[in-house]
Symmetry: C2
Subunit: 132 residues, 2 copies
DNA sequence: ATGCAGGTTCCAGTTACTGGAAGGTCAAGA
DNA sequence: TCTTGACCTTCCAGTAACTGGAACCTGCAT
């Protein structure tokens, strides 16, 4: 199967699939013409990657998950550890964003947003006493 | 004032301050010896940048905010628009992360995490029927 | 024969820094 | 005076994960 079809079936852009080959996440066969030739195994792998990336795993984590997936003697504890670490990371990011959201929401509320120049948002950024 | 002091007072690493000069966010004077010489104006600008970046504004948005800040005839509506756009972006990111969090939490719960190889997390990634 | 879709490689750009090498400057102490 | 160490300079490369584009090749249909 050519890269275009693999792209369609995996939900990944062809560019990304080529990139994944560059960094050795997949290694499709090559036809006589030099075209990449994807097996359904390859496509399965690509779909795995697409889902794992979509769940927020980094490419290196995906590599790790793929190797666990391939290892028939893996321990589910190892997979769970990876997922738990990612979950903690996501929790942390959410907390951080929520804190920013709060501050920003506050500032946006405080700004009248009209044609006048005075603005609590700029005041805050420039280090005046914070808006209450 | 040398870059080390400017760094300390602004809360930004010296490396970052040099980078901000590269991309023309600040333009300190230079001493005879070639050292950068920061005025309190410059440091104020750096603190502004430090705070704005901390609030999640991109460097380009910071540039825009700085130019609004410098413009005495600005309209606060313009500032508010930038902040509101950022807020929407943050809202969106949070929603996305919360959705990931939910899925991942679900999967982590479903995985017994012991020495056995079977694992609902890998099942999900590999495209089996989702865990219920 | 020709056109076009789709394949190939390779290089550069994105964001916002960060690390490191090689070397210049300054102030203090022996 | 010399040296040492902290601090400064520039420049180059690397990070994460692609993405865009150029230049070129292949396959298929008209």
């Amino acid at each position: 199967m050519n890269i275009g079809d693999a792209a369609e079936r995996s939900g990944l852009p062809a560019k990304t699939i080529r990139y994944y080959e560059d960094i050795r996440l997949v290694k499709p066969a090559r036809g006589e013409n030099g075209y990449r030739d994807y097996s359904s195994e390859d496509v399965h792998r690509l779909r795995f990657l697409q889902r794992a990336r979509g769940l927020g795993f980094s490419v290196e984590e995906c590599r790790q998950l793929l190797s666990l997936y391939a290892d028939k003697r893996r321990e589910s504890a190892d997979v769970k550890a990876v997922a738990e670490a990612k979950l903690i990371e996501i929790d942390r990011k959410i907390a951080e964003l929520v804190s920013l959201q709060k501050t920003l929401r506050h500032l946006v509320h405080a700004c009248h947003g009209d044609e006048r120049p005075d603005c609590p948002i700029l005041d805050e950024l420039s280090g005046s006493d914070p808006v209450q």
